[in-house]
Subunit: 308 residues, 2 copies
């Protein structure tokens, strides 16, 4: 049994994956804040799954952990995971002694790309575009995750697509993340509310000018990311996931309209059939946790692995 | 000996590559116009190399052909090679009987990417960004050309990076090609001259406002392509080639200034060190012809191959 964890800013999603790839069990628990609490959350999540499934000793083959922030290539070290209160942590080394099995660590968006590919039964190449507080993609080429030597493969959030667009927190103007990131949208909306992007959609429907502008920007940013992923990596499909995709069909309608407009203007864009190549990850899918569990399959064992 | 041809709009560049990878001979000849003349050009170029090097019968193992236009994936068929006067042609099948060896056909930019990778002794991943009449890239990931199922990998020319930018011949606004393509620049410059982009650089130096705008657009477009290639595929380096790179250091200075400006504005962009990751292909390098010769090495023999 392989265990996969998606350690998010508020909750941790954990799955146990049977040798055939089926999800045998799933638990969710609150994520602690800061390095020590994150380490404890990982250990608790594995223990919880072990209890839930009554797993005997030796039944767990490996633990994969998806985490926000950057994972230093070829290591189990996490840096700048601001959502977790972690500046730098060798997560694999920290949890391996307690777990007693090989531990892999991967960026959560990259893990979700692997998981979405498996969940959707994809073949060929696929990009997973995560629309959360920030925007980033994971790219699976011919079944294998593209990491790149610096781990920046799929970092489409900080590509500028409008020199006169809104200022991005990264310092550039018109980045895809400045248009389509939940954090950037909430900041520009700047009204109280638990679900600011949903509020923006509702207010846009009611005719609010700022909301219409922000909502259009979101669709423009997502459509730009889709075009970039297809025209650079030639992925067959782009799967959308992350918090903002809770908007479901309302989001997809906007993105389709945006892709449709460029297809109407350009025979070349029309020939790409982009509207048919974008799909939503079903809500609640454990893509990142599943992907984290599967990481060991797509990586050499000597990489990014600590043995307990 | 492997033969590689770069069939261009005006001339055809042909090289013979020894088993170790060294270029044993090179000839250039004028390219004929239209399907029949292109077929004859290929046959003449191979015959010319054979004479030049006094190659005995059986000395040629394969012929690879780089061509403008689109090569239908997994075939030797060329479509929309407008520069050659070819709308559709099974080039591999047409020349194989006369040549009597396996023939591979590849898009010229993709062939140049393979050739540049070999010529520069690159390791890891590299993008070759071709700045000619149009703009397109070839992407080599961990030593292997990324083609993609639809052949659109690296087609960064038609990614829009400015919704208010110039209209592109593809129908969109602000495409990288509309900013940085030699054809688009010459059209907007619209003054007579054999080397319009060089004229634009000279006029910009002399203070002409339109020329300064066009020259700045070229640098913006190239810098945008570099950022997109690095932030999508995480290539180690981006190598610039194609007709416009005859401007050499003048072009590089502009591109570096543009990359430097985004690095100054954004710590994230600065962390990528893009200025150090862009290089010029040396002028006159037979990258596309060499790459065409090497194609057989990076492709399964049953693909895109016709036996004479």
């Amino acid at each position: 049994m392989k265990i996969g964890l998606d350690v998010g800013g508020t909750k941790t999603d954990a799955v146990a994956v049977a040798p055939g790839g089926a999800i045998a069990g799933r638990v969710r628990l609150a994520t602690g804040w800061g390095p020590d609490a994150v380490i404890q959350t990982v250990i608790d999540a594995v223990a919880s799954l072990r209890r839930e499934l009554a797993l005997p000793d030796g039944a767990i083959a490996s633990v994969g952990i998806g985490t926000p922030g950057q994972v230093v290539s070829g290591t189990g070290r996490v840096v700048h995971a601001v959502n977790l209160g972690v500046d730098e942590l060798d997560l694999a080394a920290a949890v391996a002694p307690a777990l007693g099995v090989p531990v892999h660590v991967e960026n959560d968006v990259k893990a979700a790309a692997i998981g979405a590919y498996a969940l959707l039964g994809a073949t060929g190449s696929m990009a997973y575009l995560n629309l959360g507080t920030g925007v980033a993609a994971g790219i699976v080429l011919d079944g294998a995750l593209r990491r790149g030597p610096r781990g920046t493969a799929g970092e489409v959030g900080h590509i500028s697509v409008d020199p006169h667009g809104p200022l991005c927190r990264c310092g550039q103007r018109g980045c895809i993340e400045a248009l389509a990131g939940g954090g950037a949208i909430a900041e520009r909306w700047s009204r109280p509310g638990a679900l600011p992007v949903r509020d923006v959609f509702d207010a846009a429907d009611a005719g609010d000018a700022l909301a219409r502008d922000l909502r259009h920007g979101l669709a423009r940013g997502v459509a730009a990311a889709v075009r970039i992923l297809v025209l650079t990596a030639d992925v067959d499909t782009v799967v959308l996931g992350g918090g903002i995709t809770a908007l479901g069909a309302r989001l997809m309608a906007d993105v389709s309209a945006e892709l449709g407009a460029s297809a109407a203007a350009s025979p070349f864009m029309r020939s790409l059939g982009l509207e048919e190549r974008v799909a939503l990850l079903p809500a609640g899918s454990p893509a990142a946790a599943l992907g984290a569990a599967l990481i060991g399959d797509s990586r050499e064992p000597e990489e990014a692995l600590a043995r307990g």
